[in-house]
């Protein structure tokens, strides 16, 4: 059934394929810029990925205006301001983010302060606070999960207040996202697994949460199929370029889906456990996804049942009686969890993830105040959250 009203917006040009990165100078040229700043982190440098970026510029005649390759994992407003200084000092005219969620979100923050000509990122916190045209912005993801290359949001830590700030505006969308399998091939198995489950959680929550719509459904559906078919392959054999490429595409599609339909309680819990116990986001998503699907089942059974087709394939879908398809979808998510645990030790529960049991109450309190809960099909109060966390604590 169609929603009575919805909006869907995704203006990011996608370049996908082997050596897609080589088109970066051309794309920048099309955007009318000539001195981009490259924003990245040490992990990207250490993995030798920066050489692919530099090589792309080699014969292009275009100059890299500056490189900032020291974005920390938990980036902050201070880092944003530091990069803005580098940007201005070097006369840069575009931003190219190379990395996972942290460099991409940091680059979005840099774009805000540069474009708004401000040195105070905090004043733009929230939704739709940006008014001025943004700098051309290109993203080259090196993980396949966050979907940040096609989202309108960024999360950056406020170092003064020690809180995470959220920014959302359609102006934050990158102009171009480049999905080159070479850029994710060095990702270690456990990060491949965690980020892949992050992508799956985006797609599944997108398909089942309140703001779902036909277009987000289509992206989510396609993403789930690709993840199901390729995530274990990518974890098992990192050099499998087809699997890497598929995961990058799935992540992008899932990102496009959830940035329009939004997420629900899985993300609310994930954000909270991440903030309080510093558990990597993808790992948390993997733990909470089946439990969240189960929690919402009385409202979402039909949708979860539909997801058996992309997740399990035609044979699995047809042989399972209609009334048990939703349950089977959740079983298959858990089987994927187990498979990833077997392949690389990705934790299946909070205990394995090292979350202290005495933190569950704080996590529950934080989760019920998380904004994503607004879009969850069922309400969740603190007691509900505690019940879910108790279940998530043990396998």
């Amino acid at each position: 059934m169609l929603p009575s009203y919805y909006e869907f917006f995704n203006p990011v040009k996608i370049l996908s394929g082997n050596k897609a990165l080589d088109n970066l100078p051309y794309e920048l040229d099309q955007l009318g810029v000539s001195r981009p700043i490259i924003v990245s982190d040490k992990g990207v440098v250490k993995a030798g990925l920066m050489k692919h970026v530099k090589a792309a510029f080699d014969s292009s005649g275009m100059t890299i205006g500056a490189i900032f390759d020291d974005v920390p994992p938990d980036s902050s407003s201070k880092v944003v301001n530091d990069i803005a200084v580098v940007y201005r000092e070097n006369g840069c005219d575009a931003i190219v983010a190379v990395g996972g969620g942290s460099p991409i979100d940091t680059a979005k923050g840099v774009n805000i302060v540069i474009s708004e000509n401000s040195d105070n990122l905090m004043e733009f916190e929230g939704a739709d606070r940006l008014k001025k045209p943004m700098q051309p912005f290109v993203v080259i993801p090196t993980t396949a999960g966050t979907g940040s290359e096609v989202t309108l949001a960024a999360v950056i830590k406020n170092t003064e207040k020690n809180v995470k700030m959220g920014f959302a505006s359609h102006l934050l969308f990158p102009k171009v996202a480049i999905l080159d399998p070479r850029m994710t091939i060095t990702m270690p198995p456990h990060i491949t697994a965690a980020t892949g489950m992050d992508a799956l959680s985006h797609a599944m929550e997108s398909y089942t949460c309140l703001q779902k719509n036909p277009l987000s459904d289509a992206y989510a559906f396609a993403a789930i199929k690709m993840i199901s078919e390729n995530l274990p392959k990518a974890v098992e054999d990192g050099n499998d370029e087809d699997a890497r490429s598929a995961m990058a595409n799935a992540s992008t599609m899932a990102g496009a889906a959830f940035s329009n339909s939004m997420c629900g309680m899985v993300h609310a819990l994930g954000h909270s456990v991440g903030a309080i116990c510093h558990i990597p986001h993808g790992m948390a998503m993997s733990i909470f996804l089946p439990i969240g699907l189960e929690y919402n089942l009385e409202k979402t059974e039909k949708y979860v049942a539909e997801l058996l087709l992309p997740l399990g394939g035609m044979e699995e879908y047809t042989k399972m009686p209609e009334e048990r398809r939703a349950a089977r979808t959740i079983v298959l998510v858990r089987k994927l969890q187990q498979n990833l645990y077997d392949l690389c030790g990705l934790p299946r529960n909070l205990k394995e993830a090292g979350v202290p049991r005495n933190k569950l109450e704080s996590i529950a309190q934080a989760a019920i105040n998380d904004g994503t809960l607004t879009f969850n099909p069922l309400e969740m109060d603190e007691k509900d959250a505690m019940n879910v966390l108790n279940e998530a604590y043990t396998w």
């Binding site: 089946p290 042989k319 399972m320 048990r324 398809r325 349950a327 089977r328 959740i330 079983v331 858990r334 089987k335 969890q337 187990q338 007691k383 509900d384 019940n387 108790n390 279940e391 043990t394 396998w395």
Partner: protein, 664 residues
């Protein structure tokens, strides 16, 4: 002048075939009694650390009770002990019938087996001679056939008594038990598998020795007085009306301290099935694998298993040895089973609820049928029913599909599929092989989050008493060294035992606390821990005596256990000193578990049984049990480490359990 016990045990090494008697010093009886206590003494001493439960080092003991044969009443229960393959720690099970006095008639307080026989054997003790005999022709026979064949072979005037395993024990099902008297089972702890692992098919005993109590006249006098209470049997409700009794207990916000005389009347009239409907209505009986409530299995659905249904087909009422109550019965079931079986023991409450409401099965005939199937197979009806319910939930949650179940549609209440599944479990065929070791082992193999659907503690499937209704059950399910048993304690048991009328320093219910608000039951406080500790100690005594808890339900003023002990043995101990013996038995069993690597703090029920999340409707709506606080308080009552549950050196010193300290 006698002293109630025989003073020796028989030791049988099945590997070497060596049989010898071992004299037990008097002080051991004074410290541990017989039965469970003597079993704890023997097993702690003889089973090495990390012994494989199904290996030759495990010791399997059959014990009589201290008071068996002394002229006391309700004291004819025998006990089997061993390291449990189901829980990995202390294992025991006990049973009524007639085997307990048979052990003493052979001149022993217990018979202990070690080693493994090369071929199937049975032990025969007759005319003072013990022999290991070939049982190859019995291997594969069900428990009733085996007993019949052995009795046919026996000679002499006195009918021998037999315990044996069925095919489930032979196939090492970890939920198999040991049968006597044609299907009465010592069902729990998986000790049938231990017997099977030793290739010991049966034990047949025939003896003429008599127990001489210290003061026979006093014993008679005490028993006569006790019997008067047993014979008090006013007219009572009809079967279906018991549902309303349960509903009343649910609806009223207050309740009276329970007097076990009421339960005695119901037990005498119907047996344990008297509580079938009442328990569902009051929230005592778990429904739909602990997911449901009285709302899902209300009086209409449970009416087919109302108590009258069982007495209507009862052809014979029977009493266990020395029991004046007689809760047992034989039911004619030819018409109910398509002629396959002519009779069965009257199903117990646990059986009816495990194979009924827990699986949403409304067909009473199928329950009679499965009761007989399981008795013959020698499989625990509680664990079997609970594991079937687990499988149904796994099927509903799509963890299992028809491909896994050989085409069985395991939906709630699908009687045909439930019976078929049970048969597969008995045969260890297909999916049945996965389920034949109980829900925990199945969940471990099935993986994913299936452990959340396994209603068990420490490997043992939970009985049909819901700790969300009486949190004392949940406490004992967790802290009992042989976890997951309903025959130890609860607040209701504590009230009925009326210990405060004989024992000092236990919580009292007085005139002004005889009626209390039910909400108080759900607060985990030190009083609840004291109830729990007192129940454990008292049950230690009862199991050392070979006593039946149904007699104890009448309360200490009517059930003179302490007085019987003194009159039978010639000891002159106070009730407090006997409770100390109960504490010693409990502590030694806990020490056994620690020695065998069990971590008591990790043994507890799953979230669902604790009310996490709380139920949204029904009798136990909104209730959550604070088990961790209760466990810690309970351990403190025993002087054990309140964090780990391990007995402390000082608690062992105080109780004079010297030899266990090196293992802690």
């Amino acid at each position: 002048m006698g002293h109630a016990y025989m003073g020796k045990v028989l030791r049988v090494d099945l590997s070497s075939g060596k049989i010898q008697e071992e004299v037990i010093p008097d002080e051991v009886y004074e410290k541990y009694l017989s039965g469970l206590g003597l079993g704890a003494y023997m097993l702690y001493k003889n089973i090495p650390k990390d012994a494989e439960p199904l290996g030759p080092d495990n010791m399997l003991g059959f014990l009589s009770g201290l008071l068996t044969g002394t002229g006391s009443l309700f004291t004819g229960r025998w006990m089997v002990v061993g390291k449990s393959p189901l829980t990995g720690g202390w294992g025991d099970a006990n049973c009524g019938g007639t085997f307990s006095p048979a052990i003493k008639r052979c001149g022993y307080d217990g018979i202990f087996f070690t080693g493994i026989s090369e071929k199937p054997v049975y032990l025969s003790v007759a005319k003072g001679k013990a022999e290991i005999r070939d049982a190859s022709d019995l291997w594969g026979k069900d428990a009733i056939e085996t007993e019949e064949i052995l009795l046919e072979r026996s000679i002499g005037k006195k009918k021998p008594r037999v315990v044996c395993i069925g095919p489930a024990g032979e196939k090492l099902s970890l939920i198999s038990g040991i049968s006597n008297d044609r299907g009465r089972m010592a069902a729990r702890s998986g000790l049938g598998a231990v017997m099977g692992s030793k290739k010991l098919k049966a034990v047949i005993l025939s003896g003429v020795k008599r127990v001489t109590p210290h003061n026979r006249d006093k014993m008679k006098k005490l028993s006569k007085k006790c019997n008067k209470w047993v014979q008090f049997q006013p007219p009572f409700l009809t079967g279906p009306m018991t549902a309303y009794l349960g509903a009343m207990l649910r609806i009223l916000p207050t309740q009276m301290v329970q007097d076990g005389l009421l339960y005695k009347i119901m037990l005498r009239k119907w047996g344990t099935v008297s509580m079938n409907q009442a328990s569902i209505e009051m929230g005592d009986a778990p429904v739909k694998n602990w997911l449901g409530s009285n709302k899902d299995f209300g009086p209409k659905k449970s009416k087919p298993v109302n108590p009258d249904v069982f007495t209507e087909c009862e052809t014979v009422k029977y009493h266990c040895y020395s029991c004046p109550l007689g809760c047992g019965g034989i039911c004619a079931i030819k018409g109910k089973t398509g002629g396959e079986f002519s009779e069965t023991h009257k199903p117990e409450y646990e059986t009816v609820l495990a194979l009924g409401g827990l699986c949403m099965n409304e067909d009473p005939d199928s329950i009679f049928y499965m009761n007989e199937l399981l008795n013959r197979a020698g499989m625990d009806t509680i664990s079997a029913g609970s594991t079937v319910a687990f499988a149904i939930e796994c099927f509903e949650k799509a963890l299992l599909t028809t491909e896994d179940t050989d085409g069985l549609e395991l939906s709630w209440g699908n009687t045909e599929a439930i019976v078929a599944l049970l048969k597969k479990m008995i045969k260890r065929e297909g999916i049945g092989d996965l389920l034949a070791d109980g829900s925990k082992k199945a969940a471990e193999k099935l993986g994913l989050n299936s452990m959340h659907y396994a209603s068990q503690v420490g490997g043992q499937d939970l009985p049909m008493h819901d700790g969300r209704n009486d949190p004392g059950y949940n406490l004992h399910y967790a802290v009992e060294p042989s976890p997951g048993k309903h025959t130890i304690g609860s607040q209701m048991y504590y009230e009925m035992y009326q210990l405060w009328k004989r024992v000092k320093n236990v919580p009292k219910f007085g005139l002004f606390s005889m009626i209390y608000h039910k909400n108080g039951k759900y607060v985990a406080d030190e009083t609840k821990a004291a109830f729990g500790a007192a129940c454990s100690k008292y049950m230690g005594l009862l199991n050392g005596a070979g006593a039946c808890m149904f007699g104890a339900f009448m309360g200490t003023p009517r059930f003179p256990i302490f007085e019987w002990f003194n009159a039978a043995t010639g000891w002159n101990k106070t009730p407090e000193e006997y409770m100390e013996i109960g504490a010693r038995i409990q502590t030694l069993r806990q020490a056994f578990n620690v020695k065998q690597g069990i971590k008591p703090g990790e043994v507890k029920a799953g979230l669902r049984a604790l009310g996490l999340p709380p139920q949204k409707e029904g009798a136990n709506k909104g209730r959550t049990v604070d088990l961790e606080t209760m466990m810690s308080d309970y351990w403190r009552e025993f002087g054990w480490d309140p964090q780990t549950g391990e007995p402390t050196t000082s608690s062992l010193d105080r109780l004079g359990i010297e030899d266990s300290k090196n293992n802690l």
